[in-house]
């Protein structure tokens, strides 16, 4: 017999945990804020002066401009990674696929690094000349928020496609993992090369990516990644039934009336756009996409119609909790959250590898 939770019990529990985690993430940090002050501070920040609340202005500022965007970004990034992990595992028909492990996130980091390094070099060179140059430099800073996710998505799409083709189109686990290693190594080399030509600011940003952190949260990044997350999750969820059929095998899915090539093309592109967008703001946060779909499959089963939304919910919850811990253990200094997820996720990956050893060899 198979143990499975129904939506009636799973959905309220997850929602409650999500609210609890969000509240905690707003309250905890370098400046400790009580629950009452969190509510009052957020109200004060939303409608300053409209309500006669007795909260310090700095609370409102910290909550509204720092912690709330960071919380939302955590939910979006975690949700995207959880969902993309689930979908990639479905496409590869293999529970070891994950944006970090198979090099998709590294590909995105190279794309984002290209913009940052060459952008700042270009802007610096032009800025040295005349007024036109400084105008171009300012323009670049203006469009950077847009160029970063675009280039990161392109890098992620390219990496997914490469790993998919080199990995024998999902038929071989070993080839997929090896191709992922190769793509990650190549991306690492390119990023290392970038480090030589990078300016100091760009270098700092790049280090942040390789470790993964939500410290770069702003309302702009929340808006950009949020829109992409919502659009891509809806489009991916619409293919949930086809993904289920694909789990049976390529020719089986074809015989069930699924346009297999179209489905894969759509997944590679949507997944790349979503991962690219979050990597361009948060860097490579590994293993969320691996751990989360596994937990959901254990609780609710492998049906993608439920797996995709629940993975997004649980991914957001887990990353928010991890980020709260990362911010508070060494407060006021903070740990990049990617280090924390790797400490939890990497042993989990080894455990899965151990479980699957018979199928892999």
């Amino acid at each position: 017999m198979e143990f499975r939770l129904s939506d009636k019990s799973l959905l309220p529990v997850l929602t409650a945990l999500l609210l609890l985690g969000s509240g905690l993430s707003l309250a905890v940090g370098a400046m400790h804020i009580t629950w009452q002050d969190v509510v009052a501070g957020l109200l004060h920040w939303s409608w300053p002066g409209a309500l006669d609340l007795d909260v310090p202005d700095q609370y409102a500022l910290v909550l509204g401009e720092i912690r709330l965007p960071r919380l939302l970004l955590g939910l979006i990034v975690g949700g995207t990674l959880g969902m993309c992990g689930a979908v990639l595992q479905g496409m590869f028909r293999n529970p070891l696929a994950e944006p970090g492990i198979i090099g998709v996130s590294s590909g995105a980091a190279v794309g984002a690094g290209t913009v940052l390094v060459f952008g700042s070099v270009l802007a610096g060179t032009l800025g040295a000349f005349d007024t036109f140059g400084s105008w171009a430099g300012t323009l670049f800073e203006q469009v950077q928020w847009f160029l970063l996710p675009v280039f990161a998505s392109a890098g992620a799409i390219l990496a997914t496609w490469l790993v998919y083709v080199l990995g024998d189109r999902g038929r071989s686990v070993v080839m997929m993992l090896l191709a992922g290693i190769a793509v990650s190594a190549l991306a690492g080399a390119v990023l290392g090369m970038f480090a030589y030509v990078a300016t100091d600011t760009a270098l700092r940003d790049m280090t942040m990516w390789q470790l993964g952190s939500l410290a770069g949260a702003s309302w702009t990044s929340v808006l950009v990644t949020g829109c992409i997350f919502i659009a891509s999750s809806v489009l991916l969820w619409l293919r949930a039934g086809d993904l289920n059929a694909l789990l049976l095998g390529e020719s089986e899915a074809r015989h069930l009336g699924v346009d297999v090539h179209g489905l894969k093309r759509q997944i590679i592109v949507l997944n790349g756009i979503a991962v690219g967008a979050v990597v361009s703001v948060s860097g490579i946060i590994g293993f969320v996409g691996l751990v989360v779909p596994h937990i959901v499959r254990l609780l609710r089963g492998p049906d993608h119609r439920f797996l995709i939304p629940y993975s997004a919910l649980l991914g957001g919850l887990l990353l928010t909790v991890a980020d709260t811990i990362a911010r508070s253990v060494f407060a006021p200094a903070e740990l990049p959250v990617g280090i924390l997820t790797a400490i939890i996720g990497a042993p989990f990956f080894l455990f899965l590898l151990w479980q699957q050893r018979r199928q892999i060899v």
Binding site: M1, E2, R93, N94, P95, G241, N244, A245, L247, L248, G249, E250, S251, E252, R254, H255, L256, G257, V258, D259, R297, G301, P302, D303, Q359
Partner: protein, 260 residues
């Protein structure tokens, strides 16, 4: 004719000679056809060409339309899926679906009510003798059990066809993983399915099983059709030796004969 293959040749890249050369075959409604031949004679490749998964030279007419027509639009693909099923030789499903869920995948997200879905799932799982496995996890089953669950899934898929429509069922070595009783059960089931306006094409290795349940046997070897006819025509020691290189002996039993 449900399936017309004319002048079909398959050549793998870098291969010296083509695997299949100028094959022409027609398959008819209500008939169980056994595809036979030694290992590497191209039986499975022929099935893959019919499924549109392999490049080939020649022409395939599927359910009255050129094969490529069926893959032009999503609507055509779904229409084809209701009338055209494949039971693959191996099942590579690694995710923990229950057997009932696997069979349900055959019914797809279609228009059936939940009660109707349940009725059909139960019916076809009972046909394939896997109803007792309904709540077991698919990856935990034995090879033969998996194959029977997949058979139930394919049968439930074909149950979506309109009542008047003719159907095609492809079986790629359906008996290879099964025990003696289930080998007979599955082929008897294929026989019943054929009577419901269906052309059944089964790749088989066991000549005696084929002779017992198939209406027609087609033998492939060296890239060509070596023989095509009724079991009585084909179960000849001289012909078998020519195709397989094995000299057997024909034993007459009451009602049918067997090759030993």
């Amino acid at each position: 004719m449900l399936l017309e293959i004319s002048d079909l040749s398959i050549r793998y890249p870098r291969a010296e000679s083509p695997l299949l050369e100028h094959i022409s075959l027609n398959f008819h409604c209500g008939e169980v056809t056994a595809l036979l031949g030694p290992n590497g004679s191209g039986k499975t490749s022929l099935l893959r060409a019919i499924s549109g998964e392999l490049d080939y030279a020649g022409h395939i007419q599927l359910l009255g339309r050129p094969q490529a027509d069926w893959y032009r639009s999503q609507k055509a693909r779904r229409a084809l899926a209701r009338r055209y099923g494949l039971l693959a030789q191996h099942s590579n499903l690694n995710f923990a679906f229950t057997c009932r869920e696997v069979v349900q995948l055959g019914l797809g997200p279609g228009s059936l009510s939940r009660a109707e879905q349940e009725t059909r799932i139960q019916h076809y799982m009972q046909c394939a003798d896997v109803w007792h496995l309904r709540d077991r996890l698919f990856p935990s089953l034995s090879g033969g059990e998996k194959q029977r669950v997949q058979l139930a899934r394919v049968l439930s898929q074909l149950s979506l066809a309109d009542p008047g429509d003719e159907k095609i069922l492809l079986l790629d070595e359906p008996t290879s993983a099964l025990d003696l009783k289930h080998q007979h059960d599955v082929l008897a089931l294929a026989r019943e399915v054929a009577d419901d306006k269906t052309a059944v094409i089964a790749v088989l290795h066991d000549l005696n099983l084929a002779a017992r349940y198939a209406d027609r046997m087609v033998m492939l070897a060296q890239g060509r059709i070596q023989a095509d006819g009724t079991p009585a025509d084909l179960l000849q020691p001289a012909l078998i030796e020519q195709v397989y290189g094995y000299r057997g002996q024909l034993v007459d039993l009451t009602g049918f004969s067997a090759l030993l």
